[in-house]
Structures are given as C-alpha cells and as structure tokens.
C-alpha cells in the first residue's frame, strides 16, 4: 500500500480492481451469509523499523508516550483525525515521567505519517486486534488486526481541553 513513504497500491475487490486494470488482492469481507462483501482493511500492517521504544523515549526531550487508544474519530475523507488514549505518559529529557489522564492527539493523515521519524524493530512488533470495526449499510462488523511496533511522530497536536 505504501512503500518507502510512497503510496503504491489500493486494497481491491474484483469489482474495483477491474476499474484499475488490475487483479483483485482479495480484501472483500462480509460479516454473515446475509450481507454483501465490502473491502475491509483486515490485515494492514506497519513494517517494523530499526528503533525501539526505549531508544525513542531516550531520544525525546519533550513528548508524550501514547500507550493505548480508546476512541477514534476521523472525517469522511479519512484526513482529519482525533484519537483519545486510555494510557499515556509524559516524556521529559529522555525519561518516561508521570502518567497522563485522557491524553488525545490529532492531525491530518498524510502530515502525521510524513512526520514519522522512527519505528520500533521486529522484537517489539505485534498484532493489535479490534473485534468491532463497523462499516456499511446495513452495518457490518468485522474483526480487524494491524501489526505494528511503537513509532514516533514529530510536531503532533495533543490535548483539547483549555
């Protein structure tokens, strides 16, 4: 989908691949016998890098370690997003500090991913699952999973309360 920062391919079905003059890469899913299959991002993964969570924290003078997401909101073009976390920590002068309550982060998708300057290695890479990803009308629920290691992003807008 994305290689070395460049967008190179779509998730496709037989229907959409034919429009692109390609062969389907088989991403259609339905949540039961009575629903029409839809393209779902069930196996989209971030390649591991060569950093580590410990190293990323050690290299950060002033930041936040966002540990676990709990809410997601994104616009209809999948550009403007704001996520809330269950668990986050302050990072000051290369050290993990106090725990933060209700930390949030927001951005514009390509700007956010363009600001990624470190990704953890294979030993920290694991698959994160979500059992209730919704899409479609009538609504369909899918299990989705994304493999990722911790990653660092620069100049991200955090916090919403004044």
């Amino acid at each position: 989908l994305i290689k070395d920062g460049l967008f190179v391919g779509y998730l496709t079905s037989r229907e959409t691949a034919s429009v692109l003059g390609q062969q389907s890469n088989g991403t259609m899913r339905a949540d039961g016998w009575n629903r029409i299959p839809l393209i779902r991002m069930t196996n989209v993964n971030l390649e591991p890098g060569d950093s580590s969570l410990e190293r990323m924290i050690a290299e950060t003078r002033d930041g936040i370690y966002m540990a676990t997401n709990r809410s997601w909101s994104i616009d209809d073009k999948r550009l403007n997003f704001q996520f809330g976390t269950q668990l986050a920590y302050e990072i000051l002068d290369g050290k993990r500090g106090r725990m933060l309550k209700n930390a949030t982060y927001a951005g514009i998708t390509p700007e956010f991913w363009n600001s990624c300057d470190a990704v953890g290695g294979r030993s920290e890479w694991r698959v994160w699952g979500l059992a209730n990803c919704g899409k479609g009308q009538p609504p369909q629920v899918a299990h989705v999973a994304h493999g990722a290691a911790p990653a660092r992003f620069q100049h991200v807008k955090v916090g919403i309360l004044k």
Partner: protein, 447 residues
C-alpha cells in the same frame, strides 16, 4: 408487471405456541425466550442510478436460562420444535459451565400499553415503489447537474418476549428510512427521513432539501477554527442526544460513576427539556423493553435540571426501585438505554434562528462522533455536507468541514433558541429521537 412483496411474518398464534412450548420444556428454574422476526429490503443508489437491491427475511430466537444462580444464553434462527430443543439444550449447557454469580432478575407479568407502530402500507412496499422514490431523487439531481447517492429501506417485523414467571408481550412494527447524499464537482448535501408509515416520506421534499443543500455547499473555503455561535440542524441535535443517552442517561453509568448526570442539579440552559417516551406515537414507539418490562416515560432533563434516569432490571434491583422499561437483552454490560428520545421544541422558525447572529456557523450534521470524556459530556466529531458561515444574520458562504471538541452540557447551557417544529430522526443503531433545530451561544471548533 408489478411484483408482490408483502411482509411475511409468522402468525401471532403460531409464535405464541412456539414460545409457550419452549418455556414448558425448559428444565431450568427460570427461562426467558425472545423472538425477533423481520422482513426487510434496501435499495441502494449511486451516480444517479440504482446499483444494489438486497432483501432479507430472518428470525432470531434467544433463550436465557437460570439454574442454581448460573445464567446461560443461546440463540438460533428457526422457529420449530427441533430448534427449540437445540437452543434450550445449548443454553442449559452454557449455564452449567458458568460459576455461580449474581443473576439478573426476570420481571413478572405486567400490562404493557399497546402502541401504534405498524403500517400496512410500509409492510407492502414493492421494489418498484422504492425504485420510483429513488428515481425522483436521481432525476432531479441529474437535472441540476448533480449526482445522487443513498439508500432507501423498508422493513416489517415483530418482537415477542416471554418468561417462566408469566410474562408475554408481543409487538409488530414497520419502518421506512431513506438517506441521500447529493454531490456536485466541489461539494455535497445531505438529507434523510424516517417514519413508521412509508406514505409520510415525501420524495419531492427530500430531493429538494438535499439538492438545494448540495448547490449551496459548492467551493467551500476554510474558516478559522475557534468558538462560534452556532445553529445546529435537527440531524446534529439528534446525534448529540444519542450521545447523551449513550454516555449518561442510563442508571448503570451513574452507579458506576461515569455519567454527567447529577440529579437535582442544573446541568443545561432553562430552555432544555429532554425525556424518553416509548409510548409516544410521534416517535418510533415500543410498548416494552428487551427484558419484558412495560415502557414508562422518564423525564431526563427538565428545564435544565437533571431529573431522571432510565433503569433496567439489574440497575433497578440495585437501586431498590422498579425498572422503567429500558433494558437491553440481559445479561449485558451496557446497562439500560434511553432509545425513544424527545427534546422540547421552542417557538422559533428555523430560518429565524440565525437572524441576529453576527458571526456564526450553520451545521447540517455531524460525522464520526466519539466520546472524549463521558463525565464532562465531551464529544468530538466532524461537520459534514453543509457547513456555512453566518454573517450579520444570513448565510454568506459554505466553509470547509470543521472538527469540534465540545462538552454537550456546556453547549446546551448556552441554548438561545429552539425551533417550534421538530423532526423524527431514526438512529443508525437503535431507537429514534424527535428534536428541534437549536441555536447555541458557543461551540468549540478545534481544527
């Protein structure tokens, strides 16, 4: 040739016989059986043409058994003796594997007031009639140089619940909903409608609204994020109410200390009154809940003061009071849910809501709303398909969609006006709200 598509639902007598037979056969101390049956169809359109028709007829039989303080639940989608035997056997086997624990009590028999939730016209809608509606929207969009997208669905169903303490309730209902996005080269509009009786859905009125909105919403330019006075159309108001219900109107949220509701305290502006009434025929009524308890009206916010909560059997037992008839299928972790919401209208005409706004934002609807902080009633989301700048009492231009992050209670504290007309908004998930459009003093657009 006009095809026939009349809702096919199991006869009342047959349904009751199936449920009674299942209860009699159960070896458990307490048994509950819930049957949901539906016959529905959906016509989807895109690029000014129909591209998909789906229809579904199905039934769900859900059985809950309680044995020695152990609960088991199983379900099946057939209504026959073999299915009843199988689903009971599985529910009992599951119960036998559970540890003993607190059991959600089943209610005893009580009279539920019948509601009018059925329309023969909706139950008999044909694919041709759905296509005729869609054709009008698409043709008008095409004439305006725009493209219409959306879905039109009709359904007929029945829901029955019985338990071994003598409860038996049964209700038939119909629903027709249509939504449409109309797009031009540089912007889009949105409109939807929902009703029990399909004849209340006016294809010309819907087409006019969505096309006019799309035409006005071309070439939107950005506006600085910040705090603005706003007019929220009914689509946005209903979504705000749904999130209030999700976060805080249920007794479990209060018992677990995660609700914004502080009973007896002033939490919004004086003009705000919100209640839940499953028996009001101007909503999408239901006479009993998913535990078999008759619905009661509950005043949630009255004149700005938090005045009540909705209860199910579990939370009512804990609070030492009666359920208000707002239970979801038990046992569950969600708690009771207010799904028949009403907001008290005001006296303004919709167009007059902005008449003395110096600089503000007109919001058609919200998109992808999520909870940020339930105790503070803070939500975030985007505006979509019709966000406009108001200057000196009138709309001057469309603006790019904005993200908001806003406490609902804080926003409602600044309620300046509400329309005298209300709109029935059928939820994408469960239930419906009847709400006015509102003018609010301050709304925080964060990006």
């Amino acid at each position: 040739m006009k095809s026939m598509e009349i809702a096919r639902l199991t006869a009342d007598g047959e349904l009751k016989q199936f449920m009674s037979g299942l209860l009699e056969r159960s070896p458990a101390q307490q048994t509950e059986v819930m049957v949901t049956e539906w016959d529905s169809a959906l016509t989807r359109f895109a690029n000014n043409g129909i591209h998909q028709n789906v229809a579904e007829r199905n039934v769900s039989v859900r059985v809950r058994v309680v044995k020695d303080r152990r609960t088991g639940v199983a379900s099946i989608n057939q209504l026959n003796e073999a299915a009843a035997t199988d689903v009971l056997k599985r529910a009992v086997a599951i119960a036998d594997l559970q540890p003993r624990s607190e059991v959600v009590p089943m209610p005893g028999p009580a009279t539920a007031r019948p509601v009018e939730a059925w329309s023969d016209a909706t139950a008999a809608v044909t694919p041709e009639e759905r296509a005729d509606f869609v054709q009008t929207v698409c043709a008008k969009a095409g004439q305006a140089g725009l493209k219409a997208f959306g879905a039109y669905s009709t359904s007929a169903g029945q829901f029955a619940i019985a338990n071994s303490l003598g409860v038996f309730h049964h209700q038939r209902s119909t629903q027709a909903t249509v939504n449409s996005v109309v797009m031009g080269d540089a912007g889009s509009g949105y409109a939807d409608r929902g009703a029990i009786d399909v004849r209340e859905l006016d294809k010309n009125e819907l087409a006019t609204e969505v096309i006019e909105k799309a035409q006005r919403n071309q070439n939107a330019q950005p506006v600085e994020p910040g705090i603005y006075e706003v007019v929220l159309e009914e689509y946005a108001v209903a979504e705000m109410l749904e999130f209030m219900s999700f976060m805080g109107f249920g007794a479990l949220a209060v018992q677990e200390e995660r609700s914004f509701m502080k009973l007896g305290e002033k939490i919004t502006g004086d003009q705000v009154s919100i209640w839940d009434d499953g028996l009001d025929r101007t909503g999408i009524p239901a006479s009993f809940d998913f535990e078999g308890v008759p619905k009661q009206r509950v005043d949630l916010i009255t004149g700005g003061v938090a005045s009540g909560l909705v209860y199910d059997m579990q939370t009512a037992t804990k609070a030492g009071r009666e359920s208000t008839g707002h239970g979801l299928p038990a046992p569950n972790t969600e708690g009771p849910f207010a799904v028949n919401l009403f907001m008290k209208p005001g006296s303004a005409a919709k167009a007059d809501l902005m008449s003395d706004i110096k600089r503000g934002i007109w919001v058609t609807r919200f998109w992808y709303v999520r909870v940020v902080h339930p105790k503070l009633s803070i939500i975030t989301g985007m505006t979509r398909e019709g966000t406009f700048l108001i200057e000196n009492g009138r709309i001057t231009r469309p603006v790019k969609d904005l993200r908001f992050t806003q406490s609902i209670l804080e926003a409602l504290k600044g309620t300046l006006a509400l329309t005298r007309s209300t709109k029935l908004q059928v939820s994408e998930y469960i239930g419906a709200s009847r709400v006015p459009a509102v003018r609010l003093k301050a709304f925080d657009f964060t990006s």
